[in-house]
Symmetry: C2
Subunit: 169 residues, 2 copies
């Protein structure tokens, strides 16, 4: 799929068939995350791949917008390591770039995904940190639900001239 | 260009020919920014396109890593509107996803770009806000330098198994 087409047609997918994401696909998705830019090239990210049903159910029970996680069958928690990047703003930017790369790679592979927010919701980050045994120096920034799509969505047009400014505000 | 290839081969470009980015290219780049996902679909972004040499020079003089801005001939400041998203963490995530989409679109168009950090560096955000007349409710999150490439870079391989975890940390 062409990169512009992928960017323009990617949508948040919330219905899944349950067919597993295979290891080759997962490796391509992770490679996309690693390819993101980062502030001062610190690459402060970690990726936790979750496929165990019990863990998926616990997260889906706690996170109000991740109910589809169990049906999807796979989640990727993207975390930022504050020992590699101690400025939280940059850490969040770096992890977000990695997440967006992964969402586009997933779409390009014909799979579906949705980004479920964790940071800055402290209730969610505390729960995930406890559940997955994260060190205190690591922040879970976002959850990517990934799987085989059971819905197709039309591209949404969000182009809005009023948000574009020339030379100054 | 294939989306996976675009993700894997995108690099930060710091040398430019000075040839202008045309309006059609700019529209495709902005469309990519607008296509990003955002927390609760709030789409809290604004884009300021800067081509005036005097402004580019002022930014390049102040920002320690944006010296190539003048040669590139164009910068896009991606801002987040706190009146649309009052949780700064999500605002930064949304704007970062938009920036990453735009970086990939730029690469797909055969142009070059580099993401120069603004937020959370308060010296830089204050300078940009003053220079461009941003409302107090708007945060300049990042600067994209964009132009025609005067350098080619090999893809960098950052895949690191030690950053991948299964089921828990």
């Amino acid at each position: 799929m062409d990169v512009l087409e992928a960017i323009y047609t990617r949508r948040s997918i919330r219905k899944y068939t349950g067919q597993p994401v295979d290891d080759e696909q997962m490796q391509k998705i992770l490679k996309a995350g690693f390819a993101a830019p980062s502030a001062n090239n610190k690459q402060p990210w970690h990726f936790i791949i979750i496929r165990e049903k019990d863990t998926l159910e616990k997260i889906a029970e706690k996170h109000p917008y991740a109910k589809m996680l169990v049906q999807a069958g796979c989640g990727i928690i993207v975390c930022g390591d504050t020992e590699k990047e101690d400025r939280t703003g940059y850490l969040v930017e770096d992890c977000s770039a990695a997440i967006e790369n992964m969402l586009l790679a997933i779409h390009g592979l014909g799979l579906g995904a949705v980004w479920c927010g964790l940071y800055p919701n402290t209730e969610r980050t505390a729960f995930i940190s406890e559940l997955l045994g994260l060190p205190g120096t690591v922040i879970p920034v976002g959850l990517i639900v990934v799987g085989h799509k059971a819905e197709e969505k039309e591209p949404s047009s969000r182009y809005d001239e009023s948000r574009i400014h020339y030379e100054r505000w």
